[in-house]
């Protein structure tokens, strides 16, 4: 489960409302995702590329239960989220959509555009631009299988098939 991409760097307390603004709540995901994080970085939604990695400070995803916050990142192709810490519902939502979210205490060392590589299962982050490697807490063991299978939906499908088979 190795993900390679450029870093998009954000500060502390990035909340769910700026990832999925209420004004676009009723709009299809394509439209909502275009406004993802625009209040913080207007270039993000148009310039982020599949596999890019969001790096943030403390309490990333604080706020609402709106799953569209994690979904918008996933829709834009974000490969993983590294943060010093997470808002609890965002963290759960991200993993349930198969979007790896890892606690990364060294987030402050990452510069915008750095080439990062993340192995969520092994718990390893490499900053190729800086030539540094970090061991981080891997995904929680009880969620590893779910995230590896792509999230809660594939996991539920397998569970339901297991019951009927």
């Amino acid at each position: 489960m190795s993900i390679r991409g450029r870093a998009w760097v954000f500060g502390d307390g990035i909340n769910t409302d700026v990832m999925a603004p209420g004004l676009y709540f009723k709009a299809p995901m394509e439209e909502m995702a275009r406004h993802c994080l625009e209040a913080v970085d207007p270039r993000f939604a148009s310039e982020v590329r599949p596999g890019d990695i969001v790096v943030a400070g403390r309490n990333f995803g604080v706020g609402s239960a709106r799953e569209q916050a994690a979904l918008a990142l996933k829709h834009l192709g974000v490969g993983a989220v590294l943060a010093i810490s997470f808002g609890r519902i965002f963290y759960r939502n991200a993993l349930n959509f198969g979007l790896p979210a890892l606690f990364f205490p060294a987030a402050g060392e990452v510069r915008p555009g750095d080439l990062l590589e993340v192995d969520a299962v092994a718990g390893q982050v490499t900053n190729h631009s800086l030539g540094r490697q970090y061991s981080v807490q891997s995904l929680p063991p009880h969620l590893m299988a779910m995230v590896a299978s792509g999230g809660l939906m594939p996991y539920l499908k397998a569970r339901l098939q297991g019951q009927s088979g």
Partner: protein, 421 residues
Amino acid sequence: MQHTLAQKLLARAAGRSTVAPGEIVTCCVDLALLLDSGGPRRIWPRLKELGVGVWDPERIVLVTDHFVPAVDAESAAILRLTREFAREFGIRRFFDMQGIGHVVLMEQGLLAPGMFVCGGDSHSSNGGAYAAYVMGLGAIEMTGVVVTGEIWAPVPETIRVNWHGRFGRGVVAKDIMLMLCRELGMENAFRVIEYGGDTVSAMSMAERAVLTNMAAELGAETGLVEADQTTLAALREAGQEPPADALQWRSDAGAAYLAVHSFDAAALEPQVAAPHSPGNSAPVSACPPTRIDQAYVGSCMGAKLSDLRMVAEVLRGRRVASGVRFLVAPASQQTWRDAAADGTLEAITTAGAILLPTGCGACAALGAGVLAEGEVCISSTNRNFKGRMGANSAAVYLGSPYTVAASAVAGRIADPREFLT
């Protein structure tokens, strides 16, 4: 071994004799709250994809609140789908346009000490005022809940927050929460906040729910208040007989808390949170004079009957300042009826405030009352993130209903104590 209330509630839900902080447990869900926002519109397509129905329609409460009343074809379609879901799956407890879900659960007596509840909204922690463990979750996990009736939960550490003494005039539970967002910070994942002390014991359920609701802003797993006679009386008033073991749902004396904080209620001033975070708060006396365009009283946090009575108390014999629009959206139809019966609504409208339909409305930029670029609003709601109530450059300040009403009269952010005798 002594245990916290959170440990006891999770042990019961997990079918275990005890649980310890740091463990992950699988809990059986007693009640699932689905709202129109993250409910059927996001869950039903997933049920179809999985080819399954709901695990137990009797354990699901469905409420329309985020998109009511419909303001455009999109919100109308979401509401239609929500109503079809209720019919399709035989959801008997479907409350359509009756109020905001967290308040409806209280009014209907659907929460009781000892329960384990999941809600598809971050402010589900509101229900922790009833000594029930209520987890806020996203729609993806609520999908799992309505399919399996189960959810995983981390067993949290508990921070105990005691308040002692009596509030000064014009100070209420909301001021406690704005102050705690600053003092405790908003980063308390894997922790529960348990409120106690004689100040909390003396509070009504409506005020206790202010404390537990805004545990979401503290970032906590949930908020809790231990069961007592006030809890039982509220259940009886809602027409429900409390469970026989209701009063056992308290932390043991000597239970291990991560931290215990004690505060003096008499020393607390009215608080105001400046843009763009509830933690960006200060005593109102330290807030520079700030002109406002809008004052808003609404949401699950700040528009219950007791909140509307605070507003009326300030407004009686006064007028909303010229150039300010003061919008008031009662939290439920029951709130509306009660506030109409006791003269509260009349006092509010006579002063020039404008009543809006019950619903989440402007709090989340979904309904009537959203803000334009550059506008300034003071609000009785629980969140003031950038763009939360409309345009990104709008400035939202948070205060108690007293402070919001005082500011509406003054035309600037004002200390409610100047308006109360």
